[in-house]
């Protein structure tokens, strides 16, 4: 009995560790390739440790690829979209959680229903709309919609706000605080964990976003990292910049990994909550 248990445990261990190594291998290859010389990336057998290690790639990438431009564009899109999402989500989430008014539940269920809506369906009219107001090839189509709320995050914050005792805000209301003050001075500090979750998730979505930038941004000067990276892997420049592409990919992955390790708890919580919508 004990022996089979030991066997089972070591088997579990083996699969867990072995599989884990297989999972991170491609990841490791990406990092290692970013230190390889141009012709040394696509070789057989796969080279896991670069030889020689080419630090030069990390210098060259700045002269060959408009890295700062891509990073700047990505940051503009990510930061402003995230601010929009968080602000709008907080006030809307509060209203749905705490205020009773006619039409509230109808609007709320409509909002939830939009979660089922594929983006391709709304994509064309939204594109036409933005092109009519000459906003194609600006960041607006990527940023603006975020200021008008994202159904799922609203739902998430609403659920969280409902767990906060009403007495806490009653005290403030007796002191004459209005709703906005209650939201930002009482509710927001109390709901910090949930707000961090929303912030991380929203930032991640925008940082990694591909389809929307692809549709709305056709000028290279406006490209975020995802589109810049895509143009490199398509060899659009006609040069073999594979080694520099690897560097750029590392640049794109690193901040995500850092955020993951800094806020692992909230990060995982965010994912788990996303999966438990129902």
């Amino acid at each position: 009995m004990k022996l089979t248990r030991l066997f089972k445990q070591s088997l579990g261990y083996l699969i867990l560790v072995g599989g884990g190594l297989v999972m991170v291998m491609p990841f490791f290859w990406l990092i290692s390739s970013s230190f390889k010389a141009p012709g040394k990336i696509y070789v057989f057998p796969p080279q896991w440790i670069p030889n020689p290690v080419r630090w030069q790639n990390y210098v060259d990438v700045f002269t060959e690829v408009p890295v700062f431009l891509y990073v700047r564009n990505t940051l503009i899109i990510t930061i402003s979209s995230t601010i929009g999402t968080v602000l709008c989500t907080i006030v809307t989430g509060y209203a749905f959680a705490r205020l009773r008014f006619k039409g509230r539940d109808t609007i709320f269920s409509l909002l939830l229903a939009t979660l089922m809506l594929p983006y391709v369906v709304t994509m064309i009219p939204i594109y036409i709309m933005f092109s009519k107001v000459h906003m194609v090839n600006t960041f607006w189509p990527l940023i603006l919609p975020n200021f008008f709320g994202e159904a799922f995050y609203i739902f998430l914050l609403r659920q969280f706000f409902r767990t906060i005792p009403v007495e806490l805000e009653d005290a403030a209301r007796i002191d004459g605080a209005d709703r906005l003050r209650i939201i930002f001075q009482i509710m927001v500090p109390l709901a910090r964990p949930a707000i961090i979750v929303v912030t991380i998730q929203a930032a991640l979505d925008n940082w990694n976003g591909f389809m929307q930038p692809l549709i709305f941004l056709t000028k290279q000067a406006l490209w975020p990292l995802s589109l810049g990276l895509n143009s490199l892997q398509r060899f659009e420049t006609g040069l073999d910049l594979t080694h520099l592409m690897m560097v750029l990919a590392v640049f794109m992955v690193t901040p995500v990994v850092i955020v993951y390790f800094l806020a692992q708890k909230q990060f995982i919580q965010g994912i788990v909550l996303t999966g438990m919508k129902a």
Binding site: L30, L214, L225, Q233, M245, I271, G275
Partner: protein, 327 residues
């Protein structure tokens, strides 16, 4: 005496009146603030969801190629679909992909979740390792897999080559492309695995203990406790998997999008996924009316499938009732 008994009555009444006035004011205040606070979301709902959905439905009945204004053609776009061989190809590709991806994604993610749920030394490190791939942005993961699945020098064929096994042309052989796409998507399945992990961990330990007293083995415990207790999460992940698999786009576009929209998507259009074809119609051929019809068909299919799945829910999904077994 008389006077005293009369006096309290109006006070009480006025108190009640005051109370009503107060609550009315309160209700009024809540209504006004409520609408002010949700106003952005309502505008967003109309401007970016309901409006576009209706517009898209209208457009799907028109011929609209940007240069000219939309021209009403009734159901012609929809009637043209079966005759459009590329469209039928995209349906075929997507269905093949979904048939493989939906069951596999659930099984693989659940298995990873189970593996992660073991109480082993250093489990957080191993969990992180399994999860890492999900942190890789789509474009970067496409780059990684373009190499890993390369028949000549990719990491996947490397062990196969050593063992002398046949080497599939993962991204070049039309028969293998769908499988490769499934593989790539499975690699980034860490999120679903974490969700399953949380669900599995959430099953009360006492259930297992009770089953052990009754002499249940690991297998019966798994089938009779773990699976039913996590069925609501499995159900939800299944819905997400259905919705997601029909809408796959970015990886397909990056790996097989071609330089121009007239290039086939992969050899023999083997990677012409539904949304990729929709995208090409809208932004490559500028057939906005036709693309809208294609998108609407997808919308209807996703909606019907979701409703059907919800119907089956009663048969196999177990929801804990408050005050039920857990209390």
């Amino acid at each position: 005496m008389k006077i005293e008994s009369v006096v309290p009555v109006p006070t009480l009444r006025s108190r009640i009146n005051n109370w009503f006035a107060f609550t009315r004011k309160l209700q009024f205040e809540e209504t006004v603030w409520g609408w002010i606070l949700i106003l952005p979301a309502v505008i967003g709902l109309i401007l970016f969801k309901i409006g576009p959905v209706l517009a898209s439905l209208l457009l799907s009945f028109t011929k609209y190629e940007i240069i000219s204004s939309p021209q009403w053609i009734g159901l012609a776009n929809y009637q043209h679909l079966p005759a459009d061989s590329l469209y039928m190809k995209s349906v075929e590709v997507t269905l093949n992909y979904s048939a493989l991806f939906i069951p596999l994604s659930i099984m693989v993610a659940y298995t990873i979740g189970l593996l992660m749920s073991q109480n082993l030394k250093g489990i957080t490190i191993w969990r992180t390792m399994w999860y890492m791939p999900s942190l890789v942005p789509t474009v970067a993961s496409a780059i990684i897999w373009r190499w890993a699945l390369n028949p000549e020098f990719g990491a996947v064929n490397y062990p196969l080559k050593l063992l002398g096994l046949p080497l599939p042309g993962w991204l070049t052989d039309p028969d293998w492309i769908i499988r490769s796409m499934v593989l790539i998507q499975l690699w980034g399945l860490g999120n679903a695995a974490l969700i399953f992990l949380a669900a599995i961990k959430g099953v009360p330990e006492t259930y297992y203990e009770a089953a052990e007293v009754d002499g249940a083995n690991a297998w019966t415990k798994f089938w009779n406790i773990t699976i039913p207790m996590t069925s609501s999460v499995i159900f939800f992940q299944m819905i997400m998997s259905v919705i997601g698999s029909f809408q796959i786009f970015s990886v397909a576009y990056i790996l097989f999008g071609g330089y121009t929209t007239s290039d086939p998507a992969g050899p023999g259009n083997a990677a012409l996924f539904y949304v990729l074809y929709t995208y090409r119609n809208a932004f490559g051929y500028f057939k906005n009316g036709y693309a809208s019809a294609i998108a609407w068909v997808l919308f209807l299919v996703v909606m019907v499938l979701t409703i059907l799945l919800f119907r089956t829910q009663k048969l196999w999904v177990y929801y804990e009732v408050e005050g039920g077994p857990q209390s």
